[in-house]
């Protein structure tokens, strides 16, 4: 299912930010390169709406959808959350960075270690 959500979001992101899509339009785009039922697309878009990744707008009998945030905005949000996880002391352990921020002393020690291995 994650792969389908991604395909739907890619379709929405590839259009103008203020363009609203019907499920039928998204289904047509996805059906071009895979065998997929209309109702499946509808379910996926409903779930994306529940996760607040897409916005829903009523248009007569049908709903129209568009991405709540652009790909770039969502990426920035993801990285902001990630850096928060790294920097907030002992309350969290969901994510651990390869290396956090380094003090001047630590950077000096790193350079010294490099020098000891025979490079500057």
């Amino acid at each position: 299912m994650g792969e389908l959500e991604r395909a739907v979001m890619d379709r929405l992101w590839s259009a103008d930010a203020d363009r609203w899509f019907t499920v039928r339009e998204v289904h047509e785009a996805l059906a071009a390169d895979r065998d997929i039922a209309y109702t499946t697309v509808m379910t996926v878009m409903d779930r994306l709406a529940k996760k607040a990744l897409v916005s829903q707008q009523r248009d007569g009998r049908a709903y129209r959808y568009r991405a709540t945030a652009s790909r770039g905005e969502l990426t920035a949000e993801l990285m902001r959350e990630t850096l928060d996880e790294f920097s907030v002391g002992d309350r969290r352990t969901a994510l651990v960075a390869f290396v956090g921020e380094a003090s001047d002393e630590e950077r000096a020690a790193l350079r010294e270690a490099l020098a000891a291995f025979g490079e500057g």
Binding site: L78, D90, E101
Partner: protein
Amino acid sequence: MTPLLLSALAVVLCGPVPWLLSRSPRLRRAPRAAMVLWQAVALAAVLAALGAGLSLVTGSALGAQRSGHWYGVAVLALVLTATVLGRLLLRGHQVGTRIRAARRRHRQLLDLLGAEDAGMLVVASPEPVAYCVPGLPRSRVVVTEGARASLGGEELAAVLAHERAHLRARHDLVLEAFTVLHEAFPRLVSSAAALAEVRLLVEVLADRAARRRTGPRPLVRALVALAEGVAPEAALGVGGETGRSGVGGQLGGGALLARIELIRDPGRHRLLAAAQLATAVALVVLPTVFVAWPWLASLS
């Protein structure tokens, strides 16, 4: 006397022992054994605290004499056991739920935004960051474009070896367990020191795996590349040198220094490892024997 002994043992294992261990940086030179020792101390402390109440039950079932002291000791042991059990269950549930929710949300976004490439997920962000997200059925190693741009092939291999070592050894579970201990008993016991030390040890172990894979030089170069790059305003936000606990990422001040020193230490330290492992076994056996002893004695 067993409940009293076990209570005393629990107190010693909660306070002075972790305090002493965290002030013995030499132990880290055999990091795998040190990790076992820390887990043994935590396990033995919990066993002793739970055993205090349990031995009371065995004691009374075997018809121990009940003097005036007995009731005092009984109340003490039962309170200790009930408190430890209750807090561990409650915090264990809370921490587990919180961590899993954070990771689930993170994975959802990653799977929408990341580009799969040679076993890692690449995120289009200039922040030079690398980390892993444990999860079933599939864990993810995340590298930003910023990080990939600042790393050469060997350095990238070192980073990936480091992160995969975390995932393979399930370091996330060890960290989760010690986070639970710390949140269940944030004061009085040395749980903060234990958590900080275990956090350092998982990094040291992952560094070792990376060093085995690429040698020390690419690993240190990767550390340099990624440590230099993180946005400075985040560091300034918590206030320069005085705010060090927040600045060093998850690890408090000096943890990176310790990592560097250990990356430069090629020794195997077998004797130190053996001593730590023997201590670990003894620590876990001790409370178990205390609890079982009245039963064994009554059989003979």
